[in-house]
């Protein structure tokens, strides 16, 4: 049984923002796919006085592939990622993450923005978006601001979004030519399971050297994190197995996993090491 709230169903973004304006933190909640929010309402973890259903706002839909960047509307669903040839071409790790994301019905409803906004360290779409250098557009009645996804989270289920703001777009620059974008989710099953460790790697090559390296780690810190020191070890050089091994060990130093019901911290560290090494090795082998 869910506690009562006022339900608003605006069909325009400005109306939705006006309904969220002036709301105290936690007093107003934006409803997109509902696959997290309804569960949290039922458990009492969230108890907003007002829920603003974004389902009628067409402006928040769609996937746009531009000359320089790809832009997702905030209400693009996980299924939209799975069925988009453009996303398969420009962000293949996002498709891999969508394939192992919950089950069909959840994927049909859940949105990319919602996966970010829930702030879970195990959110599967976040590591692949982080290795793309994705940026999040936050809108309110007072204007818009753009926040790099790597700076969006501030702690466990904590982020920079104010109560009067909505995520409206997620955008990333196209990867350079000669890039590989990978993701591996380690979990008990391939579907319908919460991630034990998720690793995304994006690697680009120019002139025989690694020109760009990104490593993002899921479910091994209070929030999804990058491994900037490991990335720096890979950039500017031709990769060797020894260097990849060192970088994978460095990535372990950059995460802070905990013991929980799904795995121990020690196992998670081991998996960060192995998965980072495998993903970087596979990417490099494909590129050279």
């Amino acid at each position: 049984m869910i506690a009562e709230f006022e339900l608003e169903t605006p069909d325009r973004l400005d109306a939705a923002l006006a309904l969220l304006a002036g709301q105290d933190a936690g007093a107003g909640a934006a409803l997109a796919g509902g696959t997290n929010l309804i569960v949290d309402l039922r458990s009492g973890r969230e108890s907003p006085a007002r829920v603003v259903d974004l389902g009628g706002i067409d402006a928040l839909r769609g996937i746009e592939v531009g000359a320089d960047a790809i832009t997702l509307g905030a209400r693009a669903t996980v299924t939209d990622l799975l069925t988009s040839p453009e996303i398969a071409a420009h962000a293949p790790a996002l498709v891999e993450a969508a394939r192992v994301f919950a089950g069909q019905m959840v994927r049909n409803a859940a949105t990319v923005a919602g996966n970010i906004a829930c702030g879970s360290p195990a959110a599967d779409l976040v590591p692949p978006l982080m290795t793309l250098d994705a940026e999040v557009t936050l809108a309110s009645t007072t204007g818009e601001r753009v926040v790099p996804l790597a700076e969006y989270f501030t702690g466990y289920r904590a982020d920079v979004r104010r109560g009067d703001e909505l995520i409206t777009r997620i955008r990333w620059p196209r990867l350079p030519e000669s890039s590989v974008h990978g993701f591996h989710k380690l979990a008990r099953r391939k579907g319908d399971a919460i991630t034990v460790v998720g690793v995304s790697v994006a690697l680009s090559v120019a002139g025989g050297r690694c020109s760009r390296a990104r490593i993002a780690l899921g479910a091994v810190a209070p929030m999804v994190v990058r491994a900037p020191k490991a990335e720096a070890m890979l950039e500017g050089v031709a990769l060797t197995p020894a260097l990849i091994e060192d970088a994978a060990r460095q990535a372990v130093e950059e995460c802070t996993p905990i013991d929980d019901i799904r795995a121990t911290a020690a196992y998670r560290r081991h998996c960060v090491h192995v998965l980072t090494r495998r993903l970087v090795t596979a990417a490099w082998d494909r590129l050279v």
């Binding site: 339900l7 829920v51 259903d53 959840v106």
Partner: protein
């Protein structure tokens, strides 16, 4: 919107209006209205027992507010076919022995129909992906896969799924 209002739902082609509080889920509303072929399971989007089609796409009705789907076409498993005129998926589930206790079956058939709406010739990988949000603890899924393959063939050929 106030905390309660008249909501008109279109279920299996029939319009039903009910006075509902805004926090009423589609699952609760449908079962209260007598559509008890929609099953209540985990109520958190893990088991798929409550799946219904909204405009041909399967969603978990336990994670959907009834007021959010006003004006859209909701189809439950009973809306696909009945004993006198079963849908090829219903025929195939019966003929393949894909049903044991039967509790997951409505959701599985709805999830499979959502797949076939988009992918008339599914591979086993497509089926696996489409049914990944439906838990069946009896059958082990082998017969369920047989049923979905048979129904897909029947729907393509216009033939019999038995």
């Amino acid at each position: 919107m106030p905390k309660e209002k008249n909501v008109t739902l279109t279920v299996n082609g029939r319009q039903v209006t009910a006075r509902l509080p805004s926090h009423r889920t589609l699952l609760e509303a449908l079962r209260d209205l007598g559509f008890v072929d929609v099953k209540r399971g985990c109520e958190k989007g893990d088991c798929g027992a409550c799946a219904v089609l909204v405009d041909g796409v399967a969603i978990d009705s336990c994670l959907t507010l009834a007021a959010s789907v006003e004006g859209r076409a909701i189809t439950t498993v009973a809306g696909l076919g009945d004993r006198d005129a079963p849908h090829p998926l219903q025929d195939a589930f019966a003929a393949s022995g894909a049903v044991q206790c039967g509790y997951c079956t409505p959701g599985l058939i709805v999830a499979a129909q959502s797949l076939l709406n988009r992918t008339p010739e599914p591979t086993d990988d497509d089926i696996r992906l489409a049914l990944s949000g439906n838990l069946c603890r009896c059958t082990g899924y082998a017969k369920i896969f047989d049923a979905v393959r048979a129904a897909a063939r029947a729907l393509r050929d216009g033939g019999d799924a038995r």
